[in-house]
Subunit: 346 residues, 4 copies
């Protein structure tokens, strides 16, 4: 059969396949099994100075009742309209004004909250309330009742991170409202840290999928980083980088999203790094640069930036800096997919 | 502000958001976090009698050289053009003709092969060759060199299952050819079963992500099911249903795809069942019905059918039947997403 | 055969067996496999007021050079001459005088130190020094270099707990001196708590058999107990009882010895409890009673007492009390041997 | 103080300590924490030709009723009167005559049975009966009802291995009779192998402490060894040595006793090996030598021999040989105590 005849025969064959819900793999295989990660996800940065007004403007357009959803999605410019900051993760900036309450609900999706601006709002999880401050990392675990409110006199903005695209892929989303504004509180403030976060654990505890320490205050995290920085320059690529841990397993605090905090000493100039977990960073303190192939992004306090899977990057700190970050590494490691390369051309 | 003015203000606001890669969550939230699984995935069946000719026709249109990709994708009718049989899984029927060899390669994606028709082709994995027969379940683990060929005188068709959409979501695809048609063999046939599958394990073995028993012959599986059926009717929903296991951990044989084999006694009429893992079935022996809400599908030997996430279904066996199946339950359990409900209206 | 003839025949048979290193099981079986735990281990208490002088007197009889071994073994009165406080555990009170240094060494045996009296001596483990205070719990892990000294101006007495009988049973004791008085220090004070004990962990950490947090300061433990006591009366038998945890696994801090700290509110009157792990208690604060079948022991600050396996007991607190305790439960759980019963006759 | 005065003072001090249940550590420390394993356990061999008559003679002195205990303990010559073959393990040879039944009972101690002579007796565990043949390895798990009998027309002798000294150390022995000769059978013969031992597992299985495959027939084990020997000479010290595995975890079949089977090719001359797990060997096939420092023991079929902890040894096979063995390595690994050295002076 001559090539053109073969092509015609194939086309005709493909048309006969379609009604049987069959399709030729050989026409699409190269886009399904790629030699390297090949998504449309792009590096991007959201400068807080640029977007802060728009975040706060949402407060005038969305009522207190809708406040639960008063979030600006950080959409990856390579994935427009998909409500994703990476292929597998959702991120947004949520505004909660003084006096507001978001009704209690729960959903399959795990969520993290990282406080970007403001002090004094609270989140309640599993019968315990925690007051949030800048730099605090708070978890609302999968299928756990949670609600929040702001009894302070200043607005709060936090970075929301959710595993929405993961739950979509597995088609396993469930959600329901509690039917009340706030869950009833059954444990004193500070109970979960005392119970799980001070080197002790309940005698009969069994491993939990999500860390029962649902609030990791920045004050404590910062002090730990400060002590560690006294003894070491840290990793060549990452400086002093630690993961938030689940004390019942030693694993990541959230089963679907790895969360990290890192200190870059002033003048730190990291080596090039790449890994398969596209990563979202939020700048807590300091200023510096993200160096990418053919591009440099300047970051400062409260900025959010994202580095795609397998994209080589370097971090440079112009002053002592602290960066929060999260990625899907927690899942990739469980599935045997995660890879990294240190060094190489930046 | 009157509602219409508010709407206008919002629209204008949304337009100002876009250049900053921001989007309003409140417009899309209900489609992201749904009260129940809500994908477009549909139940479907591929009757082998209907599609067999098209599968074999591929042999005339795709050369031996292209044989590695001579697969007809089973596309879910609800997800056209996406090369998916469920939201998270790929499935296809692969044809390999006598005398053909598919060159050795490896990729991040895990693959399973379940032999639907034919006997005598081989798969080689990690230096060991195994001859395949109908009903055999063979694994090509993530990032492991594998090649196959057909030294018999009959064509073989197997069902391919891969975690392609999962690897896509995490943007972690890697692939490479070995550069040779076949890997060199370093272990005698039967070595992996003797080493890992006979109740023994190497003294110093550490847990493996994927079962080192890469071939589970049907002869042995069938005999086990027969013994078990002597002592029990099995589960009310599933009959005698077993998972293929990784002997180094007790977990699923593949870290991303749970695989099962089940025997339904003649006359078995299962209770209604639903779970969040959309499941692909391949009929090894027997005949029966899949009863869905408002629809019944008749299945027989070599047919493939799929049940979406959270879709209630019942299995009825008109004669003693054996069904192979696979799903993403292995991942959902690791992430804490998996749910099931037994009974209820079908 | 008449009974007496049979007995004679058996005796003669037994004598013929002996040269072949054979012995009749039926003569000893009832003492080997008993219906309930049946060791000679007895309940006992060491009142600090009674023994303190003798502990300090050791300082005049044992030189600084011998100080490493200047320990009074707490010998269970039912197991005289065996250097055991329970069938499986060793305990002793160690005295270290101002200016003394104990040379660095390591051994297979895991050791715990619980400070009973004094403040200011130090222990160094894995390149890090920690200053010890009353109520602190310090670990010297198996096969880890450790040394200690007293640079303060007061003597210190701590309770030593070791798994010596366990290592003896398995005939797996190894020990060696470093050849220097003190190991070189490579990490700043506080490094291990900052690295492993503040809710964070190194990104690439793998599970450790022994907690890398080698020092658990009482100040922090006491504060956690205080918070927990605000929200709960705790367990009916144990009050607020927590285990010291290994943050890399969620398991016990030491793989062979479970360690606990418990707060009994003033007036606490516990229910009867028994378990298979004979337990050693050291009183940090308060006063109360240990009620045993037919016997009551009065305990106060710095006293040590032991409850044998399966011995029913009740704890009564006459004032708010804090008790440190340790047992072999960590091993028994791993081996599937551990049992407990709550309630029942005291 | 002059030395002699010091000695006198110390003696007097020791006497004052005793009434307080205190003892000086410095007098005994060197025997408690030794530089290397230092127990009295000795290498020993029991030639079956020598002891077979005495084993069978027990049948004339111990009635059917007492048959449950008709066992000759293999006492280590270095540990006389202790009913131990190593410091931590018990071993014995049990005789069961045609027609006898041993009443059902259970105990905390785990037991293994390895058939040395005879075919056709049975063991029943968890409602399933298995017929035993020479070379079969059978488990009676901790606290599981078990009974056995001999419905064949020949006597059977098996090697019993129990963790009695371990249970003694932890003072955790429980035992009770069922009150009936035989438990009722609820599963057909072969059920447990089909359910757990053919590469499949029940879908919802959770890890089990002891392998649910309670019988490992020699026929299957031998065939696996034969296949493996085709592809490899095996380990330089051990030949083709495999562990019996728990398919629900990948760990040892029994949580307290590691069990192994090894094939030594004819002419095999192993390298010197030592490890901390004193090991008991039973010869299934073949003949050879055990070379120890200053001593050589000749072994043949059905002989039992023991190598103490840390004793260097070499195995030499004069013909193709198969050796069953067991040790406490399963515990030592859990506790972090296990060590081995390959090579070195024999």
């Amino acid at each position: 059969m001559a090539t053109s005849n073969l092509e015609i025969a194939r086309k005709e064959y493909y048309e006969r396949l379609r009604p049987n819900d069959l399709a030729p793999l050989w026409e699409v295989m190269s886009s399904l099994v790629t030699p390297q990660p090949a998504s449309a996800c792009q590096p991007a940065i959201w400068h807080y100075a640029t977007i802060r007004d728009q975040v706060h403007e949402a407060g005038t357009l969305i009522t207190a009742k809708e406040a639960e959803r008063r979030v600006l999605v950080l959409e990856n410019p390579g994935l427009p309209g998909q409500s994703r900051i990476t292929t597998s993760l959702y991120a947004g900036l949520q505004l909660i004004l003084p006096g507001e309450i978001a009704p209690a609900h729960r959903h399959t999706q795990s969520a993290l909250r990282f406080v970007v601006e403001g002090n004094g709002a609270y989140t309640a999880v599993e019968g315990e309330k925690t007051i949030m401050r800048e730099g605090d990392f708070v978890i609302t675990p999968s299928w756990t009742w949670h609600d929040h409110g702001n009894e302070s006199d200043e607005p709060m903005v936090w970075l929301d991170g959710l595993d929405i695209p993961i739950t979509q892929l597995f088609d396993a989303s469930f959600a329901e409202p509690l039917g009340e504004d706030a869950q009833s509180l059954s444990r004193p403030q500070g109970d979960s840290i005392a119970r799980y976060g001070d080197g002790l654990l309940p005698v009969d505890i069994t491993p939990r999928a999500t860390s029962p320490v649902f609030s990791y205050p920045y004050e404590r995290t910062r002090e730990a980083l400060t002590v560690l920085a006294r003894g070491s320059q840290g990793d060549d690529c990452h400086g002093i980088r630690m993961k938030y841990a689940n004390p019942t397993t030693g694993g990541y605090a959230i089963p679907t999203m790895a969360t990290f905090m890192q200190l870059l000493p002033s003048g730190f100039s990291g080596e090039t790094y790449r890994s398969t977990d596209a990563t979202v960073f939020s700048v807590v303190e300091g200023a510096g640069r993200l160096e990418l192939p053919g591009e440099t992004m300047q970051w400062g306090q409260r900025d959010t930036f994202v580095v795609p899977s397998w994209c080589p990057y370097r971090l440079v700190a112009e002053e002592e800096s602290v960066l929060f970050s999260f990625s899907d590494r927690a899942v990739q490691e469980k599935l045997g997919l995660w890879r990294e390369v240190r060094g190489g051309e930046g």
